[in-house]
Amino acid sequence: MGFLSVVANGLSMGAIYGLIALGLTLIFGIMRIINFAQGALLMLSMMVSYWLWAATGINPYILVIIVGPIMFAVGYICERCLIKPVLDEQKDVREPVAVLLLTAALAIVLENAALMVFGADYVMAKTSFSTSTIALGPVTVSAARFYGLIIALLAAGIFYLFLHRTQVGCNIRATGQDRNAAALMGIDVPKTYAIAFGIGTALLSVAAVVLIPFYYVHPSVGAVFMTKAFIVVVLGGLGSIPGAVLGGVIIGLIESIGAQYMAATLTAMLVYLVFLLVLFVKPTGIFGSPYDW
């Protein structure tokens, strides 16, 4: 593979990392909760997308129309039935640690439920474009990854516009800035929380459908992306949307370029090393401010 192809691969993987991190950053920004179930919910999205694809044979990208609403509903219901009761109980606690642990427990439940239902097999949606490549001038890239990059960037763009141009988006941002003031302005804060959690989860369905044509699905696939997403949000700045995308791209590039020149474990170490360096030089991340949240 030429260097430019490696860069292209890194970009596409990075954009997907960014997409996963977007949901994390949104939920944290609005509710101050680190969602530890993000990885498990991604796994769930991938499983649902895979089984829908296997059952119908429809192009996975089109399936997002079905998987997206399903995941939104899953997120919405999770927030309403699990998180809200604990959040209400812990109203006077500054950092809702119990909620965070709740999402971690949810992740364990989801992962092991998937293990029980689907077994530990590795599956992948072998679509017509899974193994084909696209030539862009001198650069040859895998078609699935190229489409993934485009769709991920598109989704991030739409999400940005949604937050800034629609009433619901403004409600979400207002709640994130000051929930008491938002409530005084007539915003239904609990409902906004549930919507934000639902959207954060629905974003995962986009990541899921672009991943399944070239990435194996198994019950613990979420853990792989979870840690990356954590690194990405800290790198980009907690709560920042451009930060999440840029952070994702940086991690993706380090991984793919690193893999060309050194052993896989060293590349993994390099990611953590860059992360530590950024933490020391600019602890708030590229676009973050320590006082935002």
Binding site: E89, Q90, V97, L102, A105, I108, N112, A223, V234, Y272
Partner: protein, 331 residues
């Protein structure tokens, strides 16, 4: 709890002490004693985590680093140099303190969430590192294969016993020391500083508390105590598998689960949570372990989920309510 100093509580504590001391005489099956030892170890680890996670409210999700440091440093020193684990554990503790300062220095200047995420990422990095290193100089690390403790037979100097009973008394002493340390810290100036900065960092800084330094001190104490737990784990299990010693699911998250379920920021909450959750986990594994893959962890997760939803401030809150009701009935 002893503050009231009435006869009843003294009798209660004395009775508890006698029971704890006599347990090895009644529990003769090594399996059951091992389960009890693991309960006490988890209670101790949760108590250690609670210093930074509960008292100071700094959510460390990477305490597996410190158990790994404790376990690996001690075993490496013993295997290669023959250094007694009783000495090695202090070197391991010092290394853990150093690492806690390296992690804490950049992140403690920021708000809670950054620290939590940073600890996750760093502990994942440490796991990758341990998995990929075969040897450091003449020290054998073992990489992904794991590291086996050199066995020398029954020896106090080598912290190795053929019976489980000495392990029981050692972990019991360690746990009691841990609880005393937690109690002392809670009642000390440092303890009040930590509560102040947990509740409101800006207000704490405004009244002249050095927020970062106090977090660093609490983090270092917690790291040192956790490392000692790691040493005990290494001596008991005698085989270090990177993902079991340092892993998020098997180590780091467990300590947090137990502390939160028991009651974070209290002295006895982590002890209750540690014992309860490890009993539940062992019980489920015993009955469901061999069956459908994933079933026992699924049930475990479900139980934790339900406890957190029903009792977000920890099981210890139930005891407080009970005590309140009892005292109301007496008057």
């Amino acid at each position: 709890m002893i503050e009231k100093n009435n006869k009843k509580t003294i009798i209660l504590w004395a009775g508890l002490a006698v029971i704890l001391l006599l347990i090895p005489m009644f529990v003769t099956k090594p399996y059951f004693l091992h389960v009890i030892i693991m309960c006490l170890l988890w209670a101790y680890l949760a108590t250690s985590w609670n210093i930074i996670g509960g008292f100071a409210g700094q959510l460390s999700l990477g305490h597996g680093i410190y158990t790994a440091v404790g376990a690996y440093v001690t075993v490496m020193l013993f295997n290669t140099l023959g250094l007694s684990p009783w000495l090695g554990m202090f070197i391991a503790g010092a290394v853990a303190v150093l690492i806690s300062l390296v992690i804490g220095f950049p992140t403690f200047g920021l708000r809670g969430a950054y620290y939590a995420l940073a600890t996750v990422a760093i502990s994942e990095g440490v796991i990758v590192l341990i998995n990929s290193i075969g040897d450091v100089g003449k020290f054998h690390v073992g990489g992904a294969e794991g590291l086996i403790l050199k066995t020398v037979g029954n020896s106090w100097a080598a912290f190795q016993f053929s019976s489980k009973v000495p392990y029981y008394y050692i972990i019991l002493i360690l746990l009691v020391l841990g609880i005393i340390a937690a109690k002392k810290i809670k009642d000390s100036r440092l303890g009040y500083y930590l509560v102040a900065l947990r509740e409101d960092e800006d207000a704490a800084a405004a009244i002249g508390i050095n927020v970062r330094n106090n977090k660093l001190i609490a983090g270092a104490i917690s790291a040192f105590m956790t490392a000692l737990g790691g040493v005990f784990y290494a001596m008991l299990i005698r085989y270090l598998e990177p993902n079991a010693v340092a892993g998020a699911v098997s180590m780091s998250t467990q300590m947090v689960f137990m502390t939160i379920v028991g009651g974070a920021g209290t002295v006895f909450g982590p002890v209750i949570g540690g014992i309860l959750l490890s009993l539940v986990s062992e019980f489920i594994r015993f009955y469901l372990g061999g069956q459908l893959m994933g079933l026992h962890l699924f049930v475990y997760g479900l139980i934790v989920l339900i406890i957190i939803i029903k009792q977000p401030s920890g099981i210890i809150a139930l005891f407080d309510k009970l005590k309140e009701r009892l005292s109301r009935e007496q008057h």
